[in-house]
Symmetry: C2
């Protein structure tokens, strides 16, 4: 089972013409007689010739491939982003190499170096939770490879980024709870040392202040992972400790659902006793009981916009920019909070 992919030479030999003629014919070069062009194209079809992109890449110094590094693919949000990226990439003749950092700094660095070795034409990165430094990002830029961040961006890098306004999204979600008359609002955050988490906490606090409520740090809980019902456990513990709560803003939908389970188990009803808002608007939000209010995070769009921004950098060969594109979120109000 050896590799038998036809090359331009095979066609040339088969017809008795030079490889360059074949190349020109296949690329519809004007200075080629119709007769030979036809003959060559026919033979190409016959031999099922497909251009070798590896050779083309070497010649053109462009692989028509872009590299993506994301924390974890199995998160609905990130797989939506990838879908968006792939869509735009495909429409523009690019293919996508996906790597997962698994939230590890070390893996992220290795992924970046591997993608650079593969000579991707550009990189799209969403930073891992574990952040040590930015040297690998600088490395990308030093090599003149276009780089765009999405969703999670490092604080001190000059590079375009596509994000949502986490502070504002959290503000609106919290504000909504306050508007429902809630006064003891809990926030379940996901890894509070991440910039986006910090922004969400900030928005949460600002809403409380604007609503005339006191900020109580003990009402801000860190759920470092969103696996295995951690929010369920934490919520249950809080309830057993006698916490008073009538509103809950969770940093992602899974955390919200875990907490709701604990609340119900404790005999509380949603939304009567506790109004709940999640984050990401997974598609099961309107299928759970009660349907979960959530901040819609436009994953697919983020992917599309990020890829488009990257393409612009690739074709325009522009100088380092620091523009930030902020995508709209939308609070989807469902029964869990109204």
């Amino acid at each position: 089972m050896k590799n038998k992919q036809a090359t331009i030479k095979d066609i040339a030999k088969a017809i008795g013409v030079s490889p360059s003629t074949v190349s020109r014919a296949l690329n519809d070069h004007p200075a080629i007689s119709k007769a030979t062009k036809e003959k060559i194209k026919a033979k190409a079809r016959e031999l099922r010739y497909e251009p070798n992109i590896v050779a083309l890449s070497l010649k053109n110094r462009s692989t028509k491939t872009i590299g993506v590094v994301i924390p974890e693919l199995i998160h609905f949000f990130f797989s939506s982003v990838i879908s968006g990226i792939e869509e735009v990439a495909y429409d523009n003749g690019y293919t996508v190499m996906v790597c997962q950092s698994n939230e590890s700094y070390e893996k992220e660095v290795k992924d970046v170096m591997a993608l650079l070795s593969h000579r991707v034409d550009g990189l799209l990165i969403s930073q891992a939770k574990e952040i040590l430094n930015n040297t690998h990002y600088k490395e990308i830029q030093d090599r003149g490879v276009p780089l765009v961040f999405f969703d999670r961006k490092p604080v001190d890098m000059i590079a375009p980024s596509i994000i949502i306004d986490d502070e504002n999204a959290a503000y609106e979600a919290t504000r909504h709870l306050i508007d429902q008359g809630r006064k003891s609002i809990l926030h379940l955050g996901n890894n509070l040392n991440m910039p986006i988490s910090i922004n969400r906490v900030d928005g949460f606090k600002r809403a409380l202040k604007d609503g005339g409520l006191v900020v109580d740090e003990s009402m801000i809980i860190d759920c470092p992972s969103d696996q295995q019902g951690i929010s369920y456990d934490k919520m249950l513990k809080l309830l057993e400790d006698g916490i008073k709560v009538d509103g809950l803003f969770a940093s992602n939908d899974l955390l919200a659902i875990g907490a709701i389970k604990a609340l119900k188990q404790f005999g509380l009803s949603i939304p009567e006793d506790v109004a709940v808002v999640g984050f990401s608007n997974w598609k099961f939000c309107d299928m759970v009981d009660p349907p979960l209010s959530s901040v819609d995070q436009p994953g697919r769009k983020m992917g599309r916009v990020a890829m488009e921004r990257l393409l612009k950098m690739i074709v325009q060969d522009e100088e380092k920019q620091n523009d930030v594109t902020i995508l709209d979120t939308k609070l989807m109000i469902r029964k869990s909070s109204s």
Copy 2:
């Protein structure tokens, strides 16, 4: 912002030595003096040299890249599979190119051709729902490129495949419902013209027969898409039409959850009035209310095994095989059915 990636020539020039010497030094060739080797390696680090995999690929006729074609990335199951693939690929020095067919035959063909052009060392494919013919698969094999199918495999192709026993999984799920005393069991299938769906229907029917129940074709409902609460609508319609049902086996978790919503809305309780089992065991299964019984489908493992099988084909350069690896599913029994 031009591409400034150092090459072997840059190092050679900087030190005043030939490119081949640099190549040998970097590859720890024995016949190279320690002195020059050190000098070259130092300079390589200084210039942040990274081998150009494109050039290597052309030379070695191997890209160390494998192509994956899946129906849709945003499905939890498929993103799990990709994770597994990526894991094994990474451990073996491979990178992964992911394409989505979006369940379209035409797109699948284009993806395959694009990946062949990229000269991937092998392909992992899960077939789109829309199936017209197998010529593009044959094409892959004709070119001598290793090919492995996972989850969804075409019926008449000689190629290794990694699948689950859909018939048996459905049998067990249905059998479990029967064991709970259920007698009017509904099956919500997802695209009943797909081979895996047919297998699940077969398992469903076999369980009914084994349990002494009559197979009623009107109790087998096709939900061609799992988006937008289609199962909710269909279930509601059935209930309004006065269907009698005390058990439900759904072909995926989202269908199950949509149906549960309709059942509840109709005043029925789960599992008292209707016992429900889903398929895939998404991580929110034990977070919904009531926790949803489901057939656990080992996505990550499927990805790992498929990639391992493909690697074996790549390195061993073996003849066309037709082996089938069947991964174990496990019925996760939760409150929704017991």
